[in-house]
Every structure is written in structure tokens, then in C-alpha cells.
């Protein structure tokens, strides 16, 4: 079963629609027990990291998320779902995040149009099954004002040029997270979710 964490994120339905279109029946939940039972997890996200952290904490989901990731279950974070994995964010005057990956979330520098909004190329830096069938430099849809700076550069699976190179995907074992929105990125995005679900293997069918 693919479990999508429901903490009120605006793009929850789009993510669920994308998974459904691939032929799976996602479970949408905010229950701690259901999350702990999940075989593969998607953490959607759009908006502000501070609000997301607050919602996750209020629902008691922060520790269960740490647990499923620590156990190596396939986990996909999208946009804010990527950012909250890190130590902390500059957003909203500075907030602590989940601290699963060391690094900071920073605001895009002045001089650029903010948000970074639209389709941009994703340059693959690691070879990984999540990219199967997706050409290097394929376009994905972005919308964000903050970006992640992982301390461990070897986690950077892809980057994207927006006046400066931005880390657009991280991979650590079965933990995958992207700054772009696969659910809004046409066929390449669907393919990426399909690759993710295949990583989880037969368990999710």
C-alpha cells in the first residue's frame, strides 16, 4: 500500500490522483498507526515549511516519519516534503525541521524572480532507478521560494539551474525527495512516481 500523509497540504489530491492514474489505490491518512504500517510513504507539500512542521507535530507525525525513514521504508518527499527533512529553515524567521538530513533551507537570493515558478531542467547527478526512463535534463514543474543546502553533498541526486545551481533532488537509501512536483510534471513526473512505487516492490500492490 502506498500511503500519502494527509496533514492538510494543498497538493494532496494531485499526488493521490497521480498515484491512482498509475493504477494503485493510495491510502490517504493522518493516523500515526496507519503511517507506521505503511510500506511506502509519500509526504506531499506546498506552501510554508513552518506551517507544515506545525501540522506534522500537532498530528504527532514527526516521530513516526523519522521511524519509517530510519527503518528504510521507501519514502518520497515533495517540495516542502523535501525541505522539512532537513535540520532547519530560514523561512518565517527560522524554524526547526525534522532533522533527518543535515543541512539548511535557505531563501532564494534577491535578483531572481521569487517564487521560482515553472518548468526547469533536472540534471541527474546520481544513477538511480528513480530516474529510469527519464532523460537527463528532463523538465519538471517547480514552485518554491526556498531551497535546500545539504551538508552531505553526496546526497544531491539532481540539480537545477536557476541563476545558481539548486539542489532539486536528494537520495539517501530508500529516502527520495524532490524540490519539484512530479504530480504536476506530466509524463516524466508520473514515470518518477511509478519508479518509486516499483522500488517498494510487490508489497505495495
Amino acid at each position: 500500500m502506498i500511503t500519502i500523509i494527509d496533514y492538510g497540504a494543498g497538493n494532496l489530491r494531485s499526488v493521490a490522483n497521480a498515484v491512482t492514474r498509475l493504477g494503485y489505490q493510495p491510502k490517504i491518512t493522518s493516523s500515526v498507526n496507519e503511517l507506521l504500517d505503511a510500506q511506502a510513504v509519500i509526504l506531499p507539500g506546498v506552501g510554508a515549511a513552518a506551517d507544515t512542521m506545525e501540522s506534522l507535530r500537532a498530528l504527532g507525525l514527526a516521530d513516526p516519519i523519522r521511524q519509517v525513514i530510519a527503518e528504510g521504508r521507501p519514502f518520497f518527499g515533495v517540495c516542502i516534503g523535501l525541505q522539512v527533512l532537513f535540520t532547519g529553515t530560514e523561512e518565517g524567521g527560522g524554524h526547526e525541521c525534522l532533522g533527518i538530513l543535515p543541512g539548511r533551507v535557505k531563501r532564494l537570493p534577491p535578483g531572481l524572480k521569487i517564487p521560482h515558478m515553472g518548468w526547469n531542467q533536472v540534471k541527474q547527478r546520481l544513477s538511480h532507478p528513480i530516474f529510469d526512463g527519464i532523460p537527463d535534463d528532463a523538465n519538471f514543474y517547480f514552485v518554491h521560494s526556498y531551497y535546500v543546502e545539504p551538508e552531505d553533498k553526496s546526497l544531491i541526486a539532481a540539480d537545477t539551474d536557476y541563476g545558481m545551481p539548486i539542489c532539486s533532488a536528494v537520495i539517501k537509501g530508500n529516502l527520495i525527495a524532490t524540490q519539484f512536483h512530479p504530480e504536476k510534471s506530466g509524463e516524466s513526473g508520473l514515470r518518477m512516481y511509478d519508479n518509486f512505487i516499483k522500488l517498494a516492490g510487490d508489497r505495495v500492490r
Binding site: 494543498g10 494531485s14 515553472g118 536557476y162
Partner: protein
């Protein structure tokens, strides 16, 4: 490099598309879901749906339309028309819209921009500005109009654009009332003035008649995206042809 977006706009009334129904290739060109799928396959970068229903029933239908479109296509969707409150916006966002666009309601009550940006994030708040050139002014100057371009407000478009962004708009959808419907090109001077005045992306709208017009809005007008209705709906140019044209002229375009 961030690509320039090409955005078809569809007007929906009581759940039916009221422009762009001349597609002979489609089974039911009045069906917004079918048109959305068509544009998705053609390579549109985003879709804008404007609800022009005048009744509460029409608006309820729009929620259902957005749900069905979001179930069919994996691309960004912006929805507007008649949204007055955060709860109106929440319905559309929960139905699967990525962004909502507001115009009259924001001018009447600028605090609404801040309130909705705080609730949903700036990235999904698009402020639509309908602007008309003031003829007898010394330097180029545009006035904001509301109520579908019918009501002058006395507000300067540049000042309103800046204020909208300060209040939390994540994007501006800029329509020139003078150019709209004439198919003789965007108001490039207006587009450029607004694009240079704000730090958020600007979508140029109103006046597209030829592919060169789109190019000019993106290059001379410095817009981040172009929106068009009739040139796509009435089949004078396909999305694919448009994108090839712009790419050949050296613009970053997603094909």
C-alpha cells in the same frame, strides 16, 4: 534554465467551455475536461480556467469541473472567477487547483491577499490585474479596472502591482484591456513596466494574434509567461507550433 510558460485560458460557464469550441478533433469541445486533456497532450505548460458563471449553482459546478480535470491531467491548474473569500479559494484548492486568481475581490479588500497568502502560501495566490492606458497622461500610465474590466478604480496599475506583491501575491496575471480581443499584440510597454516593477513572475495576457506577439511579450515585455485564448482555441496556432517557433527564436521553452 527556467523555461517560459505558454498558457491557454479557458472560460467556463455553468460547467461548459464557452470559447474555443471550434475544435473539430474533439468529441465534445465544450467539455472542460476533454479540452484540458487536449492541451495537456499538446504540451501546454499550465492551464487557466476562468469561471464566468453568474450563479451559485454555476460555481458549485466549477468545483466539480476542477476535480475532474485534476483527475485527468498532471499539470499546473489555475482557477479564477468569482472567488471572494479564503473559503471559496480553499474549495478550489482542495478540488485540485494549484493556484487561484482573484481580481475584483482583492481590489475591494486588499487584506484578502495577505489573509489568503498566509493561509495557503503566496505561491498559489495569483492577482489578476486588468489595466487600461490613461490616454492624456504625460508619461505612460495605466489604471486598474475591476468587474470584468467594466469598473474604473482610479488606482495606478504599477502601484497596485507592487502593493499586491507586498501583501503576498505570488504571481501577477496582467491583462491589457486596450489590447484584449484585438489580436494585434500585447501591450508591451505595460507588460514591461509591471515585470520590471515586481519580483514575482508576470503572466502577460490580452491581445495575442500572431506568434511574434508572444515572443515580444516574453522578450521586450520581459514576461515570464504568456496567456492566450483565441489563437489556440480557434486553431490558428497549435501549442506545439507556438513552442517550436519560440524555441527557434532562442527562448528557453519546454518541448
Amino acid at each position: 534554465m527556467l523555461t517560459k510558460r505558454i498558457i491557454p485560458c479557458l472560460d467556463v460557464k455553468d460547467g461548459r467551455v464557452v470559447k474555443g469550441t471550434s475544435f473539430t478533433r474533439l468529441r465534445d469541445a465544450g467539455d472542460p475536461v476533454e479540452l484540458a486533456s487536449f492541451y495537456y497532450k499538446e504540451g501546454a505548460d499550465e492551464l487557466v480556467f476562468l469561471d464566468i458563471s453568474a450563479t451559485p449553482e454555476g460555481r458549485d459546478t466549477m468545483v466539480d469541473v476542477v476535480e475532474r480535470i485534476s483527475g485527468e491531467v498532471s499539470m499546473p491548474l489555475t482557477v479564477g472567477g468569482g472567488l471572494r473569500s479564503p473559503s471559496d479559494m480553499r474549495r478550489m484548492l482542495r478540488a485540485g487547483a494549484d493556484k487561484v486568481t482573484i481580481n475584483t475581490a482583492a481590489v475591494l479588500q486588499p487584506r484578502l491577499i495577505q489573509e489568503s497568502a498566509d493561509k495557503f502560501g503566496s505561491q498559489c495566490i495569483v492577482i489578476a490585474i486588468d489595466a487600461k492606458r490613461i490616454e492624456d497622461s504625460q508619461k505612460p500610465c495605466w489604471e486598474v479596472y475591476t468587474h470584468s474590466g467594466q469598473q474604473p478604480t482610479g488606482i495606478d496599475a504599477l502601484a497596485w502591482a507592487r502593493q499586491s506583491v507586498t501583501l503576498g501575491a505570488g504571481e501577477l496575471l496582467l491583462t491589457s484591456i486596450d489590447a484584449d480581443g484585438h489580436r494585434a499584440g500585447y501591450d508591451i510597454e505595460l507588460t514591461r513596466a509591471i515585470s520590471e516593477a515586481v519580483t514575482v513572475p508576470v503572466i502577460a495576457s490580452g491581445g495575442a494574434g500572431a506568434l511574434e506577439d508572444l515572443y515580444q511579450a516574453l522578450v521586450t515585455g520581459k514576461a515570464d509567461a504568456v496567456l492566450a485564448a483565441s489563437i489556440f482555441h480557434y486553431g490558428s496556432h497549435s501549442i506545439h507550433e507556438t513552442k517550436e517557433y519560440l524555441m527557434k527564436k532562442g527562448l528557453p521553452i519546454r518541448i
